[in-house]
C-alpha cells in the first residue's frame, strides 16, 4: 500500500540514511531495491533449501530450484511468504534470519507478487483482513529493534462502497419514520438504528407496514401481501470484517435494480400507500374495507387495510408531486433534498444543475409524473450515493505526502465511523461552517456523539458482530435429525428463529456492557449476564443423559396416567351424583409440550428489550421482549459460551472445533493461520459412533498438524456444549472430554493445558496481549485496512487509551478516530496529476 508513495519514501530514505550512516535502515513500506539473485536466492539457500532440497524434501516441497517470482510459481511464493512472515519457517530450532532481513524478504515477495500478477487479477492477499495478523505483534507493541525506522502513518485515498445494510437503512429513511429514542426503553429499535434482518434472516426494505391495521390470513399471507424489496448490493463475506473499502463495487445488475427500487421509493414518497394499494384500502373503518374482501384473498395486496394516518416523512419530493404545476423551484428542491438524503451532503451547484437537467428532460418526454420519477431515480445511482469518497483532493500534502481529510469528507468519515444515517444537525453545521478540519474538530464531535445515547451508533455494534461472528447461527443449515438430537426443537423454522432472536439478544448484551464502558472486552468474555427469550431456557439448559430422558418420559407418562385416572374418577363420581343424566363432555386434554431431552434453566430477571425488525411479518414478527438474567454458574462464561456464538461456529451435523479454535487463535491471540494448501482435501471421517475429538485425529497427521495444533486444542474445550449450544456432560454417553491447550500464544503466561472452555476464557480474559489484539481488530474495522508497522504508534496509543481509562471502548475509539491513520490520506502521484488535470 505504502509503495504507492515514492516521494515519501525518497524523503524518509534520505533522512534515514543520514541517521544511520553506513548501516541499512528498514522502513516499512519502502520499495526494496533488491533482486532475486542478490537477495532472495541467498535467503532461500541459507534458510530453506537444507530441508526443502531436491531429494526427499520436507512437506514434499522443493525450493532449491525456485526461480524469480512468476505467474507459474506464484502459488509457491505465496506459501513461502506466509510461512516466513508468520515465523513458521525456518523452524524454531534452526538459525533464524534477522528481524529486518525477514521483514525485507516478506516485503520483497509481496512486491514481486504484485508486480507479476498486476495484469492477472492482481495480488491482494496481504490486504485481506484475515491476513492482518501477519504483522508481528511484538513489533507493533514491543520495542523496535535497531535498524527499523517508521514513517508517520496515513491511509490511502479511496472510495468505500456502502454495505447492503447501510444502503437499506439509508433508503428506509426516505419512506419510513422511525420512533425517536426513548431513554426509558433504551433497547427498543429507534431512529438511527439499522434496518435489521427479518425473521428469516433476510435484509429487506418494507413499504407502509407502519400503516397496516388489518390483513387477511396468517403470517405467511401477510409477508406475501406486503410490499418489500430485498437488498441488492452484494456482500460475500460471512466471517470476520465484512467491509474494507477495496472489497466491493456495484455491478450493472445491481445498478438496474437500484433504479427499479428508486422508482418504487419515489412513488411511495409522493403518494404513500396509494402507490401500492387501491384507494378503498386506505381507511380507518376496517369493516368497510373488509366488506369488499371477495372470498379468500390471502397473500394479495388487496388483503391489507392501511390507516389514513400519514406516517412517512413528507419531503420536497411530496411537494413536487402533489402539485400539478411544475416549477423550477420545486424541482430543484426535490433534486437537492434527494441528493443530500442519498449522499449525506448537499449537492454542489453543478451536481444540482446536472440532475435538474435530467429531470426536466424526462418530464418533457414522459409528462410530469412518470418523468419526475424517472429523472429523480438517477440520483440513486450517483457515485456518492453508493460509494463514500475519501479522496483528500483539497489541502496541501505535508512533508510525508499526507493530506488531512477535511470538511464533508472528514465529517462524513466521522459520521460513518459511528452511524448509518446522515450527519445530525450539529455535525452538519460544523462541516458547513468549516469546523471539521482538524484533529480537535474530530475529537469534539466524536466525544459529543459518544456521550449522547439518542444518537444511535450502529457501527459500533457492527464491529462487535464482525469481531465475534455471533450473528451467523440462523444461517447455519442444520440436519433435522442431528438438530433434534441436540435437544432443541427441529419443527419448522423454530431453531432458526431462535438463532435470529439469539443474535438480537447478544447485540443487546454487548450494548449493555458498552453502556458501562468498563473492561469492555474482559466483560464480554466473562460476563455471567444473559439477555434471553423464553426459548433460551432450553438453549441455556443441560442435555439430559439417556437415563434422565427415560426418567422424564416415565414421569410424564405417569402424570398422564394419573390425570386420566383422576378424570375417570371424577366422571364416575358425577355419574353417581347424576344418575341417568348424560355426562358432560370430557375436558380437552391439556397440551403438554415437554422437552425430555433438556433440563431447562430458569432465566429470569428484569424485563428489557432487544432491537428486532419492525412489523415485517405480521403476527410472526420477531418480538423485542427479553429478560436480563444470570447464566447458570459453572456452565457459561461470556458470549463465547452463548448459543449465538457457538452455533455460529458449528456446522450441519456437529460442532466446528476447528473454526472455534481458529477464532481464538486469530481474534484473541493475534496468531496467523496460512491458507489451507489446495492439495488438502479437508474432510473428517463420517463415524457417528465416534466423538468429534476422535474424528479429528486426521488433523494430527504431520502435514496437517503444524497448522491444526494452533487451532484444534483451542476449539475442543467448547465440546462442553453440543452443536445447538446446550451444555452437556456426556457425549455418546461417556463423560465429554473438554480439555485443550494454549500453545505458542506469544504470552508464555497463557500457554499450558486447560480443563475446559471456562478455564481457557478466564485465562485469556486476563491477558494484556488479548486486549492488544482486540485493539488491532478495532483498528482494522475503523481504519478500513490492515495495520502496518508504521501504525504501531496509533495502535499503542489506542491500547493505552483503552487501558488507562479502565478498559473503555469509547476512549479507544476516540484515540483511533483522532489518529493519523484515520485523519490523513495519501494520494498517488498519478492520481494527483489526473485530479489536477481534471480540475483544469
Amino acid at each position: 500500500m505504502t509503495s504507492q508513495v515514492p516521494l515519501v519514501v525518497a524523503i524518509v530514505l534520505s533522512g534515514s540514511l543520514l541517521a544511520e550512516a553506513g548501516g541499512e535502515v528498514y522502513t516499512p513500506g519502502q520499495k526494496l531495491n533488491k533482486d532475486f539473485d542478490g537477495f532472495a536466492r541467498p535467503f532461500l539457500v541459507q534458510h530453506c533449501v537444507d530441508c526443502h532440497g531436491d531429494t526427499d524434501p520436507e512437506g514434499n516441497l522443493s525450493l532449491h530450484d525456485l526461480g524469480p517470482v512468476d505467474e507459474v510459481n506464484s502459488g509457491t511464493w505465496k506459501s513461502v511468504w506466509a510461512q516466513v512472515t508468520l515465523k513458521e519457517m525456518p523452524p524454531k530450532d534452526m538459525d533464524q534470519p534477522e528481524v529486518v532481513q525477514r521483514l525485507q524478504f516478506s516485503d520483497w515477495i509481496v512486491g514481486e507478487l504484485k508486480r507479476v500478477m498486476h495484469d492477472k487479477g492482481g495480488f491482494h492477499a496481504h490486504l485481506d483482513p484475515n491476513k492482518g495478523n501477519f504483522v508481528d505483534h511484538e513489533l507493533l507493541f514491543g520495542k523496535l529493534p535497531e535498524g527499523i525506522q517508521l514513517v508517520p502513518t496515513s491511509s490511502p485515498a479511496r472510495i468505500w462502497r456502502v454495505t447492503p445494510q447501510e444502503h437499506i437503512t439509508r433508503l428506509n429513511e426516505l419512506i419510513n419514520r422511525e420512533k425517536e429514542f426513548d431513554p426509558e426503553k433504551p433497547g427498543l429499535r429507534t431512529h438511527g438504528d439499522v434496518v435489521p434482518t427479518n425473521h428469516g434472516g433476510e435484509l429487506k426494505l418494507y413499504f407502509g407496514t407502519d400503516r397496516i391495521i388489518k390483513w387477511q390470513g396468517g403470517t405467511v399471507a401477510y409477508a406475501t401481501a406486503v410490499k418489500s424489496v430485498p437488498a441488492v448490493l452484494s456482500s460475500h463475506r460471512d466471517h470476520g470484517l465484512e467491509n474494507y473499502p477495496d472489497f466491493y463495487t456495484v455491478n450493472s445488475a445491481e445498478a438496474t435494480q437500484i433504479m427499479g427500487i428508486a422508482n418504487d421509493i419515489i412513488r411511495y414518497m409522493a403518494e404513500g400507500p396509494l402507490s401500492i394499494a387501491e384507494p378503498y384500502q386506505i381507511s380507518d373503518d376496517i369493516r368497510s374495507v373488509m366488506d369488499r374482501w371477495d372470498g379468500d384473498i390471502r397473500g394479495l395486496p388487496t388483503s391489507l387495510v392501511y390507516s389514513t394516518q400519514v406516517m412517512r416523512p413528507l419531503t420536497p419530493v411530496y411537494d413536487l408531486m402533489k402539485e400539478e404545476e411544475v416549477t423550477d423551484e420545486r424541482l430543484r428542491a426535490a433534486v437537492d433534498y434527494l441528493f443530500e438524503a442519498l449522499t449525506f451532503r448537499p449537492p454542489q451547484q453543478w451536481e444540482s444543475d446536472q440532475y435538474l437537467g435530467i429531470v426536466k428532460q424526462s418530464i418533457d418526454k414522459l409528462g410530469k409524473e412518470d418523468g419526475a420519477v424517472l429523472g429523480l431515480s438517477s440520483i440513486f445511482l450517483d457515485r456518492d450515493a453508493l460509494f463514500r469518497p475519501e479522496l483528500a483532493q483539497k489541502g496541501e500534502p505535508d512533508q510525508y505526502g499526507r493530506v488531512v481529510l477535511q470538511d464533508w469528507e472528514l465529517g462524513l468519515a466521522v459520521n460513518h465511523a459511528l452511524r448509518y444515517i446522515k450527519p445530525d444537525e450539529t455535525l452538519r453545521k460544523a462541516i458547513v461552517e468549516g469546523r471539521m478540519r482538524t484533529r480537535e474538530d474530530v475529537k469534539r464531535e466524536v466525544e459529543r456523539m459518544l456521550a449522547d445515547d439518542s444518537i444511535r451508533k450502529p457501527r459500533i455494534l457492527r464491529f462487535f458482530r464482525d469481531y465475534f461472528d455471533y450473528d451467523l447461527g440462523g444461517y447455519i443449515c442444520k440436519d433435522g435429525k442431528a438438530l433434534a438430537d441436540t435437544g432443541v426443537s427441529n419443527r419448522g423454522q423454530a431453531h432458526y428463529r431462535a438463532m435470529f432472536d439469539g443474535t438480537a439478544s447478544t447485540d443487546r448484551l454487548v450494548e449493555l456492557i458498552l453502556a458501562e464502558d468498563k473492561d469492555v472486552l474482559k466483560r464480554l468474555l466473562t460476563t455471567d449476564q444473559v439477555v434471553a427469550t423464553e426459548r433460551d431456557n432450553i438453549y441455556f439448559g443441560t442435555r439430559r443423559t439417556r437415563e434422565e430422558v427415560r426418567a422424564s418420559m416415565a414421569a410424564a407418562k405417569k402424570a398422564e396416567e394419573e390425570r386420566k385416572a383422576k378424570e375417570a374418577a371424577e366422571l364416575e363420581a358425577w355419574k353417581k351424583a347424576n344418575p341417568g343424566k348424560k355426562p358432560p363432555k370430557p375436558k380437552k386434554k391439556p397440551r403438554v409440550d415437554i422437552n425430555h431431552k433438556v433440563t431447562p434453566v430458569d432465566l429470569t430477571g428484569p424485563p428489557i428489550y432487544a432491537r428486532v425488525s419492525r412489523r415485517s411479518f405480521g403476527r410472526g414478527s420477531m418480538q423485542p421482549e427479553r429478560v436480563l438474567a444470570k447464566a447458570p454458574e459453572g456452565q457459561r462464561l461470556g458470549i463465547l459460551t452463548h448459543p449465538s456464538w457457538l452455533v455460529s461456529h458449528s456446522d450441519a451435523m456437529d460442532n466446528h472445533a476447528i473454526r472455534r479454535g481458529r477464532w481464538i487463535r486469530e481474534r484473541l491471540l493475534g496468531g496467523g493461520i496460512p491458507d489451507v494448501p489446495i492439495t488438502v482435501d479437508a474432510m473428517l471421517p463420517d463415524e457417528p459412533e465416534h466423538t468429534l475429538r476422535e474424528r479429528m485425529r486426521v488433523t494430527r497427521e504431520t502435514y496437517c498438524w503444524s497448522c491444526h495444533k494452533k487451532m484444534d486444542p483451542l476449539g475442543l474445550p467448547f465440546e462442553m456444549y453440543n452443536h445447538s449450544g446446550i451444555y452437556r456432560e456426556l457425549e455418546l454417553e461417556k463423560p465429554v472430554d473438554t480439555t485443550g491447550k494454549i500453545i505458542d500464544s506469544g504470552d508464555p503466561s497463557l500457554d499450558g493445558k486447560v480443563a475446559n472452555a471456562l478455564e481457557m476464557i478466564e485465562k485469556l480474559a486476563e491477558s494484556e496481549r488479548v486486549e492488544q489484539v482486540f485493539v488491532r481488530h478495532a483498528f482494522r474495522f475503523w481504519i478500513g485496512r490492515n495495520e502496518t508497522l508504521n501504525d504501531a504508534p496509533v495502535l499503542q496509543d489506542a491500547y493505552r487509551a483503552y487501558k488507562e481509562n479502565g478498559g473503555s471502548m469509547n476512549a479507544m475509539l476516540l484515540s483511533l478516530l483522532t489518529s493519523d491513520a484515520f485523519l490523513y490520506r495519501t494520494r498517488t502521484e498519478q492520481a494527483l496529476a489526473e485530479s489536477n488535470a481534471a480540475k483544469n
Partner: protein, 439 residues
C-alpha cells in the same frame, strides 16, 4: 477480487436478465453455420406442488416406455409429444425444507424458506453461464395474481447467482417488452424507452466523470461500476442494431398488455415474451415461475374463482381446479415446443437443442416433506437425455443429482451440485449424474 468475467456474472445475477459481452448481430441468432451448437434450457416451476398422480399414466409403477401409455388428463395436451417426454418420479428434496415452498432451495438444492436468503447460486443461473453465450444469458419471468404483478412487478424468490444474491423475475409484461423490444416499439413504450435511454446514458457519463480523479487502486473497481452502465447501454444499443432481426420474433403488443381482463392474459403474454427471447437468440436460459415460488397465485382466467393458499390445501388428483391449472401449464409447454420446433437450427430445429424442466418449487404438494419430487423433462438437449419414458426412482437421490445431470449435459465436469460430501452421505446414496435420465 472482481474481474470482468465475475462482474458479468454478477450482472447476470441481479436483473432477471443479464448483459453479456458485445456480440456481432450475426452471433445473436442460432446460425446454421455456427460451429458451437446453441443450446437452451427452460425451467417451468408451478407452485403448490406437482402431485405424481397428475402426470404418471395409470398403472405405471415401474420404469418403462410411455409409447403405449395414455397420459393423465391434466397433462393430456402433451400426448402428441410424449416421445419427447421423460417423467421422473422418486427424486427427493427433504433437505430443502419444501413445505410451503423451498424458495431458492428448489433450484438450489439447499434449505430454503420464507424470508431465507439464498445460500448459494441456483442451477438455472449456473447453466446460463456455461451454455453458449447470448446477449442475456438468463431471463426469469413470474406469473401471479394481477394485483401482485402490478404492485410487485419484480420479485426474487427462486433464482440466485450466489449466496445472498437473488435474481429478480419480471412480472409486468410492459416492462419486459420495453427492455427486450424498446428499440422497435412505438407509442408509449417507445417514449419510455427513449426517456430511460437518455437517463442511463447521462448516468453513465456522470459515473465516468466522477471516476476520473480516483486513486489508481480504486480505478479498476470503480471502473466496473462505470462499465456496468456501459453494458446496460451497450445491450440496448446492440438490441437496437439487431432490431430488424428482433422484429421477426417480437410479439405484437395488444390490449392484453395494457388492459388485461384476467391475470392469465399477462401470463400468456409473459410466456410469449419469454419464448421470443429464446427464438430470437437473446437468451439461452428461461425460468418461468407460475405462482412466483410462493404459496399463492391466481388463475381466474381459467374460470377458477378460488385463489391463493387454499389451492394448496386441495388434493390435486381428479380435482377440477388442479386439472385446469395443470392443463394450462401443459398448453404452455406445448406452445414453447411448437414455437421452438418452427425455428430451423443446424440440421433440425431449435427444439432439438432444448430441454424443458417442469416441476414445482413445492415438491409433490404444499405441505410436504419433499420425500418425492416429481419432474418432467421435455426435449433431449441435443441427444443428451433419454425421452419417451417414465423413470421410477427410489427416493434416495436428491434433486441436486438431476441438476448435476444438467450440468454434465452442458459440458461441466462435476459430480455434485450444491451438496457437500458430508450432506451427501445423508441425502444421496449415489454420486454424479442420474444415469437413468442421461442418454
Amino acid at each position: 477480487m472482481l474481474n470482468r468475467r465475475t462482474m458479468l456474472r454478477h450482472m447476470a445475477a441481479g436483473a432477471g436478465a443479464a448483459f453479456s459481452l458485445p456480440l456481432l448481430p450475426n452471433q445473436l441468432m442460432a446460425s446454421p453455420t455456427s460451429n458451437s451448437t446453441p443450446k437452451r434450457i427452460i425451467f417451468f416451476l408451478q407452485n403448490q406442488g406437482f402431485d405424481p398422480l397428475t402426470c404418471i399414466p395409470d398403472g405405471m409403477t415401474t420404469s418403462g416406455s410411455l409409447a403405449k401409455a395414455n397420459l393423465p388428463e391434466p397433462i393430456s395436451a402433451l400426448e402428441p409429444y410424449k416421445e419427447r417426454l421423460h417423467i421422473i418420479n422418486g427424486l427427493h428434496g427433504v433437505h430443502t425444507s419444501p413445505s410451503h415452498s423451498a424458495f431458492f432451495g428448489a433450484l438450489g438444492g439447499y434449505r430454503g424458506g420464507d424470508g431465507v436468503p439464498p445460500s448459494a447460486s441456483t442451477i438455472d443461473y449456473e447453466l446460463s453461464k456455461v451454455l453458449p453465450e447470448t446477449l442475456l444469458p438468463h431471463l426469469c419471468i413470474g406469473m401471479d395474481s394481477i394485483e401482485n404483478m402490478t404492485t410487485k412487478p419484480t420479485l426474487a424468490t427462486l433464482s440466485a447467482s450466489g449466496a445472498g444474491q437473488p435474481i429478480f423475475m419480471y412480472s409486468n409484461p410492459n416492462h419486459l417488452y420495453q427492455m427486450l423490444y424498446g428499440g422497435i416499439s412505438s407509442g408509449d413504450i417507445r417514449r419510455q424507452h427513449e426517456a430511460r435511454s437518455n437517463v442511463l446514458n447521462q448516468v453513465e457519463q456522470f459515473a465516468f466523470n466522477k471516476g476520473r480523479a480516483l486513486p489508481a487502486a480504486d480505478k479498476q473497481r470503480y471502473g466496473q461500476y462505470v462499465q456496468g452502465f456501459k453494458d446496460v447501454n451497450g445491450l440496448r444499443d446492440r438490441l437496437d442494431t439487431v432490431a430488424d432481426h428482433l422484429r421477426k420474433f417480437a410479439p405484437k403488443v395488444d390490449e392484453r398488455y395494457t388492459k388485461p381482463q384476467f391475470e392469465t392474459d399477462w401470463h400468456d403474454v409473459l410466456l410469449d415474451l419469454g419464448i421470443s427471447a429464446l427464438t430470437s437468440g437473446i437468451t439461452n436460459t428461461l425460468t418461468i415461475a407460475s405462482g412466483r415460488g410462493e404459496i399463492f397465485g391466481a388463475w381466474k382466467g381459467l374460470g377458477i374463482q378460488q385463489q391463493g393458499h387454499n389451492l394448496g390445501h386441495m388434493d390435486q388428483p381428479d380435482n377440477p381446479i388442479w386439472v385446469k391449472i395443470r392443463q394450462y401449464n401443459s398448453r404452455m409447454l406445448v406452445k414453447i415446443m411448437e414455437t421452438l420446433e418452427s425455428v430451423p437450427e443446424g440440421s433440425g430445429t431449435m427444439m432439438d437443442h432444448t430441454l424443458i424442466v417442469y416441476t414445482s418449487n413445492n415438491a409433490d404438494k404444499q405441505h410436504t416433506s419433499g420425500a418425492n419430487w416429481p419432474v418432467m423433462l421435455l426435449g433431449n438437449f441435443d441427444g443428451a437425455f433419454k425421452t419417451g419414458c417414465f423413470t421410477q426412482l427410489q427416493g434416495k437421490r436428491p434433486i441436486n443429482s438431476l441438476y448435476t445431470s444438467l450440468l454434465r449435459a452442458s459440458g461441466v465436469d462435476c459430480d455434485r451440485f450444491n451438496m457437500s460430501e458430508q450432506l451427501a452421505k445423508k441425502f444421496d446414496d449415489g454420486n454424479g449424474p442420474l444415469k437413468e435420465v442421461l442418454a
